[in-house]
């Protein structure tokens, strides 16, 4: 898949959508069944690209035609979704995928006991099909995703929205930081990025701790929290910052959930394999918390907690991923967790004193103690 331009202008997306419709009409004109083709998004076509360092879709494609009884309805639904997105673009209005579903939930006619869509679970995958087929992102179709994640630091952006352009200075967002929108591409661009590195902190509580300690000012870094699992917008922002040649460091709990957050940021996820190149940041590094920290910092030994079943299961599972087992440091970490049945939260670093969190990050970076 080609690397997408940062900004897919809405007129380009519009012509892609129209082009899709026109091809179908041409099929019909020559007496062929209209068809819709897109890369296959199922497990069998998801692979990890060692050279690129992220999870992406393979070469397999699927074709849906209207004259196949098993596919006719899905075909019609796909066209309905495409046509509705075109309308949103023309009107320059945005909605969520749930909003889209409600726009398309209606009866197919008086004498047909069937709805165009009766469940959102039918329309969601079709949106993803359109994204891959047209090589655009959901946001390019004027479909918003949930906003999640907060940033602070010496980063200035331009935000064109509703006909107004605002300049946003992420160093002047006070105690709460700037909330990362669902779309950081369309109508959004960096004005200046003046920092030495990016640090991604799993928990909001720790972000607030570091913000209060003026950590990003002292260190001249960009401080981000995805507040748990990173949203599409948040992952895209991290990718874009990495594109400006800033190193990216992740700081999460030493448990299943924390590791999952890190690996999703680094290699992308199976669900969003088709967006791999846009949202994965393979150059990201993991600074902690790690099991080895217990050796380096005595007090942490007393602050471990017992693992849950899910942590061990996830750890076992991660040991089956080739992109993780390629790193012996991670294998060691995972095996230690499984053997000791203990885990560690990043909050534990506040044990000796609250501001120790910043010292910990500083020391880790100075000594280059991070995991790949």
């Amino acid at each position: 898949m080609k690397k997408k331009s940062e900004k897919e202008s809405s007129s380009e997306v519009l012509s892609k959508l129209e082009g899709l419709g026109k091809e179908m009409l041409e099929d019909i004109d020559v007496g062929e069944a209209p068809r819709f083709e897109c890369p296959l998004r199922s497990r069998g076509n998801i692979l990890y690209d060692e050279n690129l360092g992220y999870i992406k879709l393979g070469e397999k494609r699927e074709t849906r035609t209207f004259l196949n009884v098993g596919q006719a309805k899905k075909f019609m639904q796909t066209v309905a979704v495409a046509s509705k997105c075109k309308k949103f673009l023309k009107e320059d209005s945005h909605t969520s995928i749930r909003g889209l579903f409600y726009q398309l939930k209606f009866s197919l006619g008086e004498n047909v006991d069937e709805e165009l869509f009766s469940e959102q679970s039918e329309s969601n995958p079709l949106v993803e099909d359109l994204e891959v087929a047209l090589d655009v992102k959901r946001e390019d179709l004027n479909l918003n995703t949930d906003r999640k994640g907060v940033v602070a630091g010496n980063l200035v952006l331009k935000d064109k929205f509703g006909g107004v352009t605002d300049e946003i200075d992420c160093s002047k967002q006070g105690r709460s930081g700037w909330m990362i929108p669902s779309d950081v591409d369309n109508g959004m661009e960096f004005v200046s990025v003046d920092a030495n590195y990016v640090i991604v902190v799993e928990k909001d509580a720790l972000w607030q701790r570091l913000n209060e300690d003026k950590f990003w000012k002292k260190e001249n870094c960009i401080l981000i929290t995805p507040k748990g699992q990173a949203s599409r917008g948040c992952r895209r922002l991290i990718r874009k910052l990495a594109d400006t040649k800033l190193p990216v460091y992740c700081f999460t709990d030493c448990d299943a959930w924390g590791w999952y957050i890190y690996w999703t940021i680094k290699t992308g996820s199976m669900n969003l394999a088709y967006l791999g190149s846009d949202i994965a940041t393979p150059e990201a590094k993991f600074i902690g918390v790690t099991m080895r920290d217990i050796v380096d910092y005595d007090f942490l030994g007393k602050l471990t907690i017992k693992t849950k079943e899910v942590d061990l299961k996830r750890a076992e599972e991660m040991l089956t991923y080739p992109w993780i087992t390629a790193h012996k440091e991670w294998v060691e970490e995972l095996k230690t967790v499984i053997a000791t049945k203990k885990k560690l939260e990043q909050d534990a670093l506040q044990g000796p004193r609250l501001s120790f969190v910043g010292d910990y990050i500083r020391e880790k970076l100075e000594k280059k103690k991070f995991l790949p």
Binding site: M24, G70, A72, M76
Partner: protein
């Protein structure tokens, strides 16, 4: 003391002190107890009471024939008499009961043979045959007529009542004559019961019993005179369940108090090691350390409810070797297959084959699930159609009530039926069959009509049902493929109008009416292009399931 009546007393409301109940119980008359605890004994509501009566007799018949290695033939007749009385006649071809034991079995509360053994059996549920005798007596004042033959050329008949003060059988009108009858026949009259054909009624109960017991031939004669025969389809008599000692993890406070009061052991410690599997003296010592307030040297009879509760709670904190799984007695997938085909005459049946699992850290159980589609599958709906039906069993006994709080219902509800091409479970001719097999069935209450919704139980039931649902989907998809071209054309035609309008909008060119005409023309003329595929979509479903497991 002890017996089936007491067993119903286990797991009482938490506030009641168990030992108190036991003390007072001696002074209660049996009738008193019965009246006070009717609902607990299954006599709540007129329809339910009748189902309970039939259940008690049928269970006895099935267990007795199984033990005697006889292929059961059971006849149930329900008649409506004046004054809203109902007469129930049940006859089996079992081994019969010797006259010397008949009084004890049917005219004395708490004197069953089952309760003293511990195995995966149908019984241990309600109040037994004597309970029915009593219920008849207190609602109509009449005795129950018994006929028993051992197959030795002599037949014995008598009227049976219970002397409620002394809990003794009162036998009158005894006769003995020559005849070839073998088995047991009971005729009893009841009031405060009602026959109807609802999903909780006798007809449904017997139908479900037949579905789980394909080796039995069951006949029902309804009050209208209509006769239903659930034919035997298998000559294989189920293996006798192995008798095993109860495992400590399966025990409830009520059980423990109850057993302690019946044991021959003289010390609590020896009672524990003698009664439970995997309970060594080392384990008892461990327990004793955990509950220092209990004297393990005292007589088991002196075990108080709070003490028993403390012991049971501590048992859960210890590690135990799992009980043997070979005591599980499933119905068997080929037997279920035969039974469902016989009773439901469905288009399609699939039965799961799964290995035993454990719950609560060590109690083995097994789930047998099956799905039937078409024919008489599903339940009749008021609008003449058929809707999805869930039939639940614990150790092949049908669970007829309290479906809403049962793990099996929960598992069915948790399945996304659309994935299996069932658009609306309540509107498809589908029967989901699930049998929970275990020596310890974790019922939700004393009524024993629902299995508790424990995560590992609901999960396993769900997977078992998903396994068979997948097979059904392949069948349903195959049906679509087999449809003739005309039907396929009709299906595609439904979507032409909407597609034409959307396509014109999307392309920004072309008139919807024009596109519609071309599409209709194409569908009408190009038969050979129309196709349908099933396998591909089924693969998709499997994948979704795998993803789910991963999450």
């Amino acid at each position: 003391m002890g017996g089936e009546m007491m067993e119903e007393e286990k797991e009482p409301e938490k506030e009641v002190n168990g030992s108190e109940i036991f003390k007072e119980f001696k002074e209660y008359s049996v009738v008193e107890f019965f009246k006070k605890n009717r609902q607990m004994l299954g006599f709540a509501g007129k329809v339910r009471s009748l189902t309970t009566i039939v259940h008690e007799y049928c269970t006895n018949a099935l267990d007795a024939t199984e033990e005697a290695h006889i292929l059961p033939e059971i006849m149930v007749k329900v008649e409506e008499l004046p004054d809203e009385h109902v007469k129930v006649t049940i006859q089996d071809n079992g081994p019969g009961i010797p006259p010397s034991h008949l009084g004890k079995a049917m005219g004395m509360m708490l004197a069953g043979t089952k309760f003293h053994r511990y195995m995966q059996q149908r019984g241990q549920q309600g109040i037994g045959g004597a309970g029915c005798t009593l219920f008849s007596q207190i609602t109509t004042g009449k005795p129950t007529r018994m006929r028993s033959g051992l197959g030795d050329g002599k037949v014995y008949e008598c009227d049976m009542k219970i002397d409620v003060k002394n809990n003794q059988p009162v036998i009158t009108n005894q006769i003995e004559f020559m005849g070839n009858f073998r088995g047991l026949r009971v005729e009893a009259e009841f009031a405060e019961v009602k026959y109807d054909k609802s999903e909780h009624g006798v007809y449904e109960y017997l139908k479900r019993t037949a579905m789980a017991n394909p080796h039995a031939q069951i006949t029902l004669i309804e009050p209208t005179g209509e006769k239903h025969v659930f034919q035997r389809v298998s000559d294989r008599i189920p293996e006798k369940p192995a008798e095993i000692q109860p495992h400590p993890l399966g025990i409830t406070t009520g059980d423990l108090v109850d057993m302690a009061h019946r044991t021959d052991s003289r010390k609590l410690s020896s009672f524990l090691t003698n009664t439970f599997s995997r309970m060594s003296s080392a384990k008892v010592e461990e327990l004793a350390k955990l509950v220092p307030t209990v004297n393990f040297e005292k007589h088991p009879r002196d075990l108080k409810w709070p003490e028993a509760e403390a012991v049971v709670n501590s048992v859960k904190t210890l590690k135990w070797i799992a009980p043997p799984t070979d005591a599980l007695r499933p119905i068997g997938s080929d037997q279920i297959d035969k039974a469902l085909k016989n009773i439901l005459a469905p288009e399609f049946v699939s039965v799961s084959e799964r290995r035993p699992k454990v719950f609560r850290g060590g109690i083995p159980f097994m789930v047998e699930a099956a799905i039937a589609y078409g024919g008489n599958s599903g339940r009749a709906r008021s609008d003449e159609g058929r809707g999805g039906d869930i039939i639940r069993y614990a150790n092949r006994v049908p669970l007829m009530f309290d479906g809403g709080s049962c793990a099996i219902t929960e598992a069915v509800k948790n399945i996304d039926w659309k994935r299996y091409d069932v658009r609306d479970f309540d509107k498809e001719p589908v029967t989901v069959f699930a049998n929970f097999v275990s020596v310890h069935v974790p019922y939700t209450g004393t009524g024993k009509q629902a299995i508790t919704m424990e995560e590992e139980i609901v999960g396993e039931i769900r997977y078992a049902i998903m396994e068979v649902a997948r097979d059904m989907q392949v069948y349903l998809r195959g049906k679509v493929r087999e449809m003739d071209k005309e039907t396929k054309k009709k299906i595609i035609m439904r979507y032409v109008k909407e597609l034409s309008a959307d396509l014109a909008d999307l392309a920004g060119t072309g008139a919807p009416a024009d596109i519609e005409k071309k599409l209709v023309n194409m569908i009408e003329t190009k038969y050979e292009k129309i196709e349908g595929e099933a396998e591909e979509a089924v693969e998709e479903v499997k994948e979704v399931e795998e993803n789910e497991k991963e999450e």
